[in-house]
């Protein structure tokens, strides 16, 4: 069955139409967000709407970047997300090594527990966390956020890391062991360095989750100097009349770190995801 040239041409045209409809669905809302961040607040709901109008300026961005309170949201988000990423990567390398290279009594059970943690709803943990974190004296602290975020970043990170280690041949570490290296040395000198692609995808994924977290940031912090970007946007919505252009500017700025990370590492990221998790 060989398709004729006309048939291929028609299929091509249909594909292009579908591609463009899809791109509108996915991309136009984002384009509108960016466009609105350059408008004045008066022109946000102008009739008829225009992508770019006479009020085009960087004023909304300057307002966000000139406000120490809002810059603080960014500082907090970066600090918490980076801490969570470092802790999650180290912990998941250790756990992944254990799952990938050792056989032990409770392995199967612990594997199930770690996969199962992914289905524990944050809202279930929220009420006891509140009491627990206050009791530990960690209420309104970075430590509280880092620890609670890790519950949700860790299980997926361990699954991805285990999956990655499983793709590396065992002969490699056994050779080092015979040469007298302990298992710990093997892990950090040999396995970890060659697992860099896996580690990068775990790191990017963790950073994204931590950067985006909302519920615990909302309930476990109290003062504005501890708030993260998602909560900052929430607060901006509650305050004074809606400053749409500023909220859009804050949204664009708040999405840039994840977008840049994603664009830089998408190859690793997608490969890591398919290797680690969704493998029936």
């Amino acid at each position: 069955m060989v398709a004729s040239r006309a048939q291929i041409r028609r299929a091509k045209i249909l594909t292009w139409i579908a591609l463009i409809i899809g791109a509108c669905f996915a991309g136009l809302p984002v384009l509108w967000m960016i466009a609105s961040s350059f408008k004045s607040n008066l022109e946000i709901f102008a009739y008829p709407p225009a992508l770019i109008d006479h009020s085009f300026s960087f004023k909304a961005y300057l307002a966000v970047l000139g406000d120490p309170g809002q810059l603080r949201f960014f500082f907090n988000s970066y600090l918490v997300a980076i801490m969570v990423t470092i802790c999650t990567v180290v912990t998941s390398i250790l756990a992944g090594y254990s799952f990938s290279r050792y056989d032990f009594r409770f392995k199967r059970f612990l594997t199930l527990v770690i996969i199962g943690v992914q289905s524990v709803p944050p809202i279930t943990l929220m009420i006891p966390y509140f009491g627990l974190i206050v009791w530990l004296g960690l209420y309104n602290s970075y430590t509280a956020l880092v620890l609670t975020y890790m519950v949700f970043t860790l299980s997926y990170a361990i699954i991805m890391m285990t999956g990655y280690f499983n793709t590396l041949p065992r002969d490699l570490d056994e050779a080092v062991m015979i040469d007298g290296g302990g298992s710990f040395v093997t892990l950090w000198r040999i396995l970890a360095p060659i697992s860099l692609p896996g580690i990068v995808s775990v790191g990017v994924y963790t950073f994204m989750l931590a950067w985006n977290e909302f519920l615990f940031a909302l309930t476990l912090t109290r003062t504005n100097d501890m708030r993260t970007v998602p909560i900052g946007i929430h607060l901006l919505m509650g305050q004074h009349s809606f400053e749409w252009n500023q909220m859009m500017a804050l949204s664009v700025l708040g999405s840039l770190p994840v977008l840049i990370l994603f664009l830089l590492f998408q190859r690793y990221f997608i490969a890591g995801m398919s290797a680690g998790s969704i493998k029936g």
Binding site: T15, L19, G22, A23, A26, G27, W32, M33, I44, P49, V90, T91, S92, L94, S98, S100, Y102, F104, K107, R108, T111, I114, I115, G116, Q118, S119, I123, T124, L125, M126, I127, Y129, F130, G131, L132, T148, V151, L154, I159, G163, N166, S183, M208, N212, L215, V229, P230, I233, M237, W244, M247, M248, S255, V258, L263, Q266, I270, A271, S277, G280
Partner: protein
């Protein structure tokens, strides 16, 4: 001589002891590597779940002057017979089931589009980035963006009016009859890229010879899709649908920041209902009971997910 034999004996004994030590170390090491994970999960998953379960069996917990009273399953009875709870449950199920189905359709369609041989690789890479875009935005940003787009004076109403699809400006997020569908649509927009990315990886894993064989047997493209692509993707589909169902039942931020569960509880889902019970009405026992019910639903679905998922190659 005697000393030499003793030496050899001692060495042998120490070697045996050493092997014993090595074996013990080998038994103990995997747990040592897992210890940070286990400590964290015990402290921040198991203890809290036990705590919330105990809260749900008791009245007067947290912020309350009166001593706690054990009430058994009374809180569950109170919740399960409550009309507000049933409303929230049915909204949650509608929200989750429609989201999962449409996520699957859009995710698979986009993945197939991006996997076609009819267009060049560079074009595909560009469209792939555009299609993934919704994924890089956090739920609170997605919420605020769609509140702008769906505003009665917003751009979506303008386009629909110009095209003649609607006769008047619609109050998407504050009309009782529209709000639940509107938030479901927003969740669909936000969530399909996860499916798309997973399906893309899955499609690339299907060997070409399967399609070759199918074509030789005279299969048309629909048959190739129906009898090769879908069965090959089945494990991925099941995993994704179950995980997405659980995640959608969790969804709090998106609804909290678009409608807050309103108007007139028309978009109230279990998570917003629980949050309000805890932090607005300070009924911590009721909130804990709700939290346990959500956990039960997610665990039920989670069991199927875990059974479908094999982490280590056993």
């Amino acid at each position: 001589m005697g000393a030499g034999i003793d030496m050899a004996k001692a060495q042998a004994i120490s070697e045996i002891a050493n092997i014993g030590w090595e074996q013990r170390k080998r038994k103990f090491l995997p747990y040592a590597y897992l210890s940070p994970t286990l400590a964290l999960l015990a402290a921040l998953t198991i203890v809290p779940i036990v705590t919330v379960f105990l809260y749900s069996l008791v009245d007067n917990v947290i912020i309350n002057q009166n001593p706690p009273v054990f009430v058994g399953l009374e809180n569950y009875e109170e919740v399960l017979t409550n009309r507000k709870f049933r409303g929230a449950l049915s909204n949650t199920l509608y929200f989750a089931i429609v989201s999962v189905i449409v996520h699957f359709i859009i995710g698979l369609s986009f993945a197939l589009l991006l996997n076609t041989r009819l267009i060049g690789n560079k074009t595909k890479a560009l469209f792939r980035v555009i299609y993934i875009l919704p994924w890089v935005f956090t739920a609170s940003i997605i919420a605020i963006l769609w509140r702008l787009l769906l505003n009665p004076h917003g751009v979506i109403n303008f386009v629909l009016l110009e095209l003649g699809f609607v006769q008047e400006k619609l109050e998407w997020l504050s009309d009782r009859d529209l709000a639940l569908n509107a938030v479901t649509f927003i969740n669909i927009w936000a969530g399909y890229p996860f499916y798309m990315v997973s399906f893309l990886a899955g499609l690339q894993g299907i060997p070409d010879d399967l399609y070759e064989a199918g074509r030789v047997d005279g299969g048309n493209s629909w048959q190739l899709f129906r009898f090769i692509t879908l069965p090959q993707l089945k494990p991925i589909i099941v995993s994704l649908a179950l995980l997405d169902f659980i995640w959608t039942i969790h969804q709090f931020t998106l609804i909290w920041m678009t409608t807050g569960g309103g108007p007139m509880r028309s978009t109230e889902v279990l998570s917003t209902y629980t949050y309000k019970a805890a932090f607005s009405s300070h009924e911590y026992s009721i909130a804990s009971t709700l939290a346990m019910i959500i956990l039960a639903i997610c665990t039920f679905v989670g069991i199927f997910y875990v059974r479908n998922q094999r982490m280590t190659d056993e």
